[in-house]
């Protein structure tokens, strides 16, 4: 059985997630959203994460150029 069924299994599943560092409050919020809203929230988060990665790369490249020109 993969899904927690009994009240005991459900509590165990929630406790295992909490111990693993999963934010249960965030899950509750997600469960209030429609699938469309979950998709939109996810895609916006992915876009933002990729923008951050690109910004960090650009900043590192800039630092590298400054360090090189100072040599």
């Amino acid at each position: 059985m993969f899904l927690p069924v009994t009240p005991h299994e459900k509590l165990q599943a929630l406790e295992a997630a909490r111990v693993a560092g999963i934010d249960l409050e965030m899950l509750e919020t997600n469960l209030t959203l429609s699938v469309k809203e979950r998709w939109a929230q996810h895609d916006a988060a992915l876009d933002f994460a990729e923008k951050l990665v690109a910004a960090k790369k650009a900043a590192d490249a800039q630092l590298w150029r400054v360090a090189e020109s100072a040599r």
């Binding site: 993969f2 999963i22 899950l27 469960l31 699938v35 469309k36 939109a40 895609d43």
Partner: protein, 159 residues
């Protein structure tokens, strides 16, 4: 810009029958994790591959695992048997699978899939039970963590 929802709608509009699986299925069920791709499972019939090409034709679909980034519109030639396709498109990465480890092929997934409706369109979504099974079969740290999260979602849904 990623728009996996639009990508999935595009595939459905092309008449493709598929089940949403993988990380984006987890997101659909309520997971907080962010995934870089959308995975679907379908039957790799010649007809479905032709529909995929039509659906993705203006999205610059490329084989992301091939160093030369070959276009899916040209490669492989029609009639080539396929197991999986890993594509990069202008709307994001889409991985197309013929089966899911630990669960089975399209017909097995479809049998127990949930139906979700987005903008009036119905999508087949791998059941929570099967998704946990798949994540546990993958066995990587990140998959096991997602499985824990999905179990918590199942517990919360039923409370």
């Amino acid at each position: 810009m990623h728009n996996f929802g639009a990508l999935l709608s595009r595939l459905a509009e092309a008449g493709l029958e598929f089940v949403i699986v993988g990380g984006y299925a987890a997101v659909s069920h309520g997971s907080s994790y962010v995934t870089k791709d959308v995975d679907i499972c379908l039957v790799f019939s010649e007809e479905n591959v032709a529909k995929l090409r039509v659906a993705l034709r203006d999205l610059n679909p490329q084989h992301r695992m091939a160093p030369q980034r070959l276009s899916f519109l040209d490669v492989p030639p029609p009639g080539t048997p396929l197991q999986n396709l890993y594509l990069r498109t202008d709307w994001g990465i889409v991985d197309i699978l013929s089966s899911v480890l630990g669960v089975g092929d399209f017909s097995r997934l479809k049998e127990r899939a949930e139906t979700v409706e987005v903008d009036g369109r119905r999508f087949a979504l791998i059941s929570l039970d099967d998704l946990i099974r798949a994540k546990e079969a993958m066995g990587r740290e990140k998959d096991l963590l997602t499985a824990k999260e999905l179990r918590a979602i199942a517990a919360k849904r039923a409370l």
